[in-house]
């Protein structure tokens, strides 16, 4: 492998010449139009030039007679989009799973929602939509009306294919299961106690938010996007708002950027405390779960103090934030954070020394750095395996370029490392919020912007508590967006669980799984 600072766009220009069109500065560093199967060759070149090349998302969009398929690719130093298209009569294209394993789920989703056929995909089938979905109706196509789809009712218990080998037993976890807060199904095949195969079935929380966004105004969409996830809601609202602001080419006031950072970090704080506790619950250590959730409540109070709402902060808006921070509230924020910081050594000592936790978490679900790269993992899962991706550092957004914080990386790659990444990030988040409230710039906190947005498209990437969150927004010049695509961190991290669970004990599945901090309302949308 070559060095990681290779000039990727220059390389593509010199390799392909006129065969591809490169539009600099669009959808990341550049948008590369590569039709007639050339997208595979471009991707091959990129994979060979930089070992950290991976796929962030695949966006499918209805462009009239054709369907655009956009591959959003990240490398170690640049983010590009490869554009290709298929016709509606013959929506076939070659799969890229053979080049990069991490693309498998992205392709299934585009196939389900837009009817693009990825030839050569290893496991085609419904992934997001239900099994009784009518043939030939693809909800994200423009000619499909959301309220005209009629479904055939299905029985509650779907047919289960038993494994051929009689030694093997198939255990179905979900959709309703005490260990899962959300309805998802995992069919785990076990040989004795050892897991040999995990088949996920997501889509139980698929609410069709991307389609709904196309029939609502931009302001309404901010609140709709926020409701993708009740935990990282500020991140979703900011992802959408950030993309729209890029299309509008506006710069929000510095005070608004700082207030956004405070909201995003409060979000991260409460989400990490929730997971650190939930992981203990999954291994049967309920006391620590109760402790973590007790200490999460003051953070919820801070969210309520700064935004007026306990769960859905609804703080982000196009052009800034909806509510200013009062100077009189700052001491309360600082004392609460100080109290939380004082409790951290106790929790760290529990994670370091407690034999129960060590037994259930150390060397469980080990994900190697190479696998993390190959599967395009994000967030604490990638950072626990020594793969240093953090959008806040790699491509600073909002006011993160000015914030002093460390990127937390552990190298062991097990469940314990993933949880400790979060533990250390709690402390970093406290530092960021303290710096932000101390250095809060004076001035306005909101701009008045027009309701309609000029035609254009933009992407926005940010680091949600669970990893990189990706938004693509396309506007057609009206007051409603043409297409909104969301790639959530759990969607990118599920393949890593399917990989690490195999060969381990069935009893380790819950602890391993919860270390991804799975959020299916995000995944399914």
């Amino acid at each position: 492998m070559q060095n990681s600072t290779v000039d990727m766009i220059g390389l593509i220009k010199s390799t392909f010449g006129d065969k591809v069109q490169i539009q600099l500065g669009a959808l990341g560093a550049a948008a590369i139009t590569a039709n007639n199967g050339l997208h595979r060759d471009v991707l091959k070149t990129m994979l060979a030039a930089d070992e950290k090349t991976g796929i962030t998302a695949i966006t499918g969009l209805d462009l009239g007679a054709i369907i655009g398929v956009y591959y959003h690719i990240h490398t170690s130093n640049v983010f590009v989009t490869i554009k290709t298209e298929v016709t509606k009569e013959n929506p076939k294209t070659q799969t890229i799973v053979d080049l990069h394993l991490g693309a498998a789920f992205h392709e299934l989703e585009v196939a389900d929602l837009l009817g693009v056929v990825f030839e050569g995909h290893p496991s085609p089938g419904h992934f997001v939509l239900s099994e009784n979905w009518p043939e030939g109706i693809y909800p994200l196509r423009k000619d499909v009306k959301a309220n005209e789809i009629k479904l055939v009712p299905t029985p509650a218990s779907e047919e289960i294919q038993l494994p051929e080998n009689k030694r093997l037993v198939k255990i179905i976890i979900g959709p309703q299961h005490p260990a899962l807060l959300e309805p998802e199904k995992f069919a785990v095949t076990v040989d004795g106690e050892t897991v040999t195969k995990v088949e996920p079935r997501i889509g139980y929380v698929h609410r069709g938010i991307e389609k709904a966004a196309e029939s609502r105004g931009y302001m309404q969409d901010v609140y709709l996007m926020e409701r993708i996830c009740g935990i990282c809601n500020s991140c979703h609202a900011y992802g959408f708002v950030g993309a729209v602001e890029k299309i509008l080419k506006t710069q929000v006031p510095p005070r608004a950027e700082y207030l956004r950072v405070i909201a995003l970090e409060l979000n991260r704080l409460h989400s990490h405390l929730l997971t650190l506790g939930h992981a203990c619950l999954e291994i049967g250590y309920e006391t620590v779960f109760q402790y973590f959730w007790r200490d999460r409540e003051p953070i919820m109070d801070l969210i309520e103090l700064t935004s007026g709402n306990r769960v859905y902060s609804s703080l982000m808006t196009i052009g800034g934030v909806r509510r200013d921070l009062k100077d009189t509230d700052i001491p309360k924020i600082k004392t609460t954070l100080e109290e939380l910081r004082a409790k951290l050594p106790f929790y760290r000592q529990i994670y370091e020394n407690e034999p129960t936790l060590k037994l259930r978490m150390k060397n469980v679900g080990v994900l190697s750095k190479q696998d993390a790269i190959n599967l395009s993992c994000v967030g604490p899962v990638a950072r626990g395996s020594g793969y240093d991706v953090d959008v806040r550092k790699d491509e600073p957004y909002s006011a993160y370029a000015e914030m002093p914080f460390k990127e937390i990386v552990y190298t062991t790659g097990d469940t314990w490392a993933r949880m400790n990444v979060r533990m250390d990030e709690v402390e970093e988040s406290i530092n960021i919020i303290e710096y932000a409230v101390d250095n809060l710039p004076k001035g306005p906190f909101r701009l008045e912007l027009p309701r309609s947005v000029p035609a254009g498209e933009a992407i926005h990437r940010l680091e949600a508590p669970r990893g990189e969150l990706f938004y693509y927004v396309r506007s057609n010049g009206t007051d409603m967006p043409d297409r909104v695509k969301v790639r959530t961190p759990t969607f990118a991290n599920i393949p890593s669980f399917l990989k690490t669970a195999i060969g381990e004990s069935i009893a380790d599945v819950p602890a391993n799984f919860v270390s991804l901090d799975p959020c299916f309302s995000c995944t399914d949308r």
């Binding site: 009784n132 909800p139 959300e182 139980y204 709904a212 009740g230 959730w293 769960v311 309302s521």
Partner: protein, 178 residues
Amino acid sequence: MTDTKTWARVKSPWVLHFNSGACNGCDIEIVALLTPKYDVERFGVKLEPSPRHADVLLVTGCVTQQCAERLKAIYEQMPQPKFVVAIGACACSGGVFEGNYNVVGGVDKVIPVTAYIPGCPPRPEAILDGVVKLLNALNPPKPKKQPKQAKAPEVAKPEAAVAQAAQGIVEEEKQVAK
């Protein structure tokens, strides 16, 4: 006998939580109810993993197509008498997701609902209030006043009798010590 059963039910309702396609907002608030700040277990409310042991079904979410049949099956597995509480705007009516292609919208389109708790998400206090209102609606038997004739003084004041006995023991001990 019925009175005793209702009394027991009201004193210790076991609840089952089912997420029918919610965003985690309401779900996390339900879990927050069980944690130290709100701690509903002090009222006897216990989160129960199996539908076969549950009295109250707490449903969150806008009911997606995939979950609708599941929800019905879980409701049917619960023993009588059973109560369903729809928590959050989505569970009450479909909320902001009403009209989306994969959404049935509202728990009452699938199973009968006893109580609605609106909010996006409702605060833990509101959920608690809703559950208490539901339990009061069951008309729990009030502690009965005993008729005046039956109120014999020696029976009515067991504390006094115990105190008298205790005093006796103490005096005996004193004598033994002497």
